[in-house]
Assembly symmetry: D2
Homo-oligomer: 136 residues x 4
């Protein structure tokens, strides 16, 4: 489980006065980036050195409460599945000062090579990811 702080930027608000829903996916990405760094497989290095990309193949999100400009939030990410060629992360968004979650979601990713073709996750990367796998 990894917690990442996010402060809502002015650019992320919309005319409703709250954070626009697509930006939540960006915050989810920030959290899984840190989770992978903590697992010892920094995503940038996986792309640049191992030549493995993890494009999003599915996303789902539920928006429960609005996030407002300048609010200090945190995204909690968990790596809930590490397969031979796929991984899944689950997310929850909260205010840092507590209270009910603002949103929950997940992303599923397929491993592909630089040519865009599906590939297996290299053994070492997979082993590190599995060390961070959490049930739920």
């Amino acid at each position: 489980m990894t917690r990442v702080p996010v402060r809502v930027r002015y650019s992320e608000t919309d005319r409703m006065g709250v954070a626009y829903h697509a930006h939540y996916l960006v915050w989810f990405e920030m959290a899984r980036t840190e989770l992978m760094r903590e697992a010892g497989c920094t995503y940038r290095e996986v792309e640049d050195h191992d030549g493995i990309l993890f494009p999003v193949i599915q996303v789902g999100a539920r928006y429960l409460r609005s996030a407002r400009y300048d609010e200090q939030l945190e995204v909690v990410a968990r790596l809930t599945s590490v397969g031979r060629a796929r991984v899944r992360f689950d997310y929850e968004l909260r205010r840092v000062d507590g209270g009910a979650p603002l949103a929950s979601g997940f992303t599923a990713h397929a491993a592909v090579g630089r040519d865009g073709r599906p590939t297996g996750i290299p053994a070492e990367v997979r082993r590190r990811l599995q060390s961070r796998e959490s049930s739920e």
Copy 2:
């Protein structure tokens, strides 16, 4: 059913060389905006004159094929459910020159008033939306 053209902007690509997944939600929004305009309830007017907002409460998307910079795409939106206080849209993203879909998805929305509280969809707005409702 409403079709909206989208050309992939440079700003919408990422270092993988393809459109970043969160932007698909923006393209979905463009298509439902046009669908509502065609239904005679332009979203801007619904917000400004009726005081009804339709925040996204749930989103789901599957990414099947990459969209590349400068490609000419189209989003097909259908209004698949109009309830007393909720609506649901389904989307499909394709290249204009045909071929298999690049992505599919949906958004669910709750009607809320300017105070952010859930409310019913006004009868006239609901009637217009229902005129565009299509079965899945």
Copy 3:
């Protein structure tokens, strides 16, 4: 001179209720992309086939009037300078139904190779761009 229509997306608004200023740079980019396409040197091909990139090295913009959600605007782009290794575009943003400009701006670009190093603009690309050069 090239005119490109832009409709303000919901995602481009902020809590002030108007288009967020950074998105104007994206609209400028859309207009220069079309200008280059009309000049016979589509930017995507220049990057992919000629291996020449034109990163922005300077930008300036003046914001005169607000752009609101769902408004139909147009960006007018002119290619005002084509040097040996640099180009400059000037922009004006207007509502399609006329009136005073909403914004004006410019971008300057340096030609670089895939390795990121400055390079000259290939003769054929330069010739085509010069055919569209307009005095200020």
Copy 4:
């Protein structure tokens, strides 16, 4: 002078593999938000309680070196002018581990009321901002 850390998000990169130029304006905004918070006039409160908005009326930026995905940067903001109805901020973007600046820029802002009309900066807000004014 205020320093704000920024880590380049995947969503902020483009197909050139570097941070897209428009996002620099968002980073500038993050830095001036913190500067105003430190000055005791949190921008959110100035908007919500004083009813004063500071829309950007002019922006300029020079891009000197590329910023890459996942790099840890910092934006240094200075408040270089506080007038009766206008303020100006200057910015510099660097890598946290030192080296030459990646970019520099400025933004100019006009005070407007909730009705969008120009107004003077309230005396107390102005006094606080002036306490942070730094010569260029």
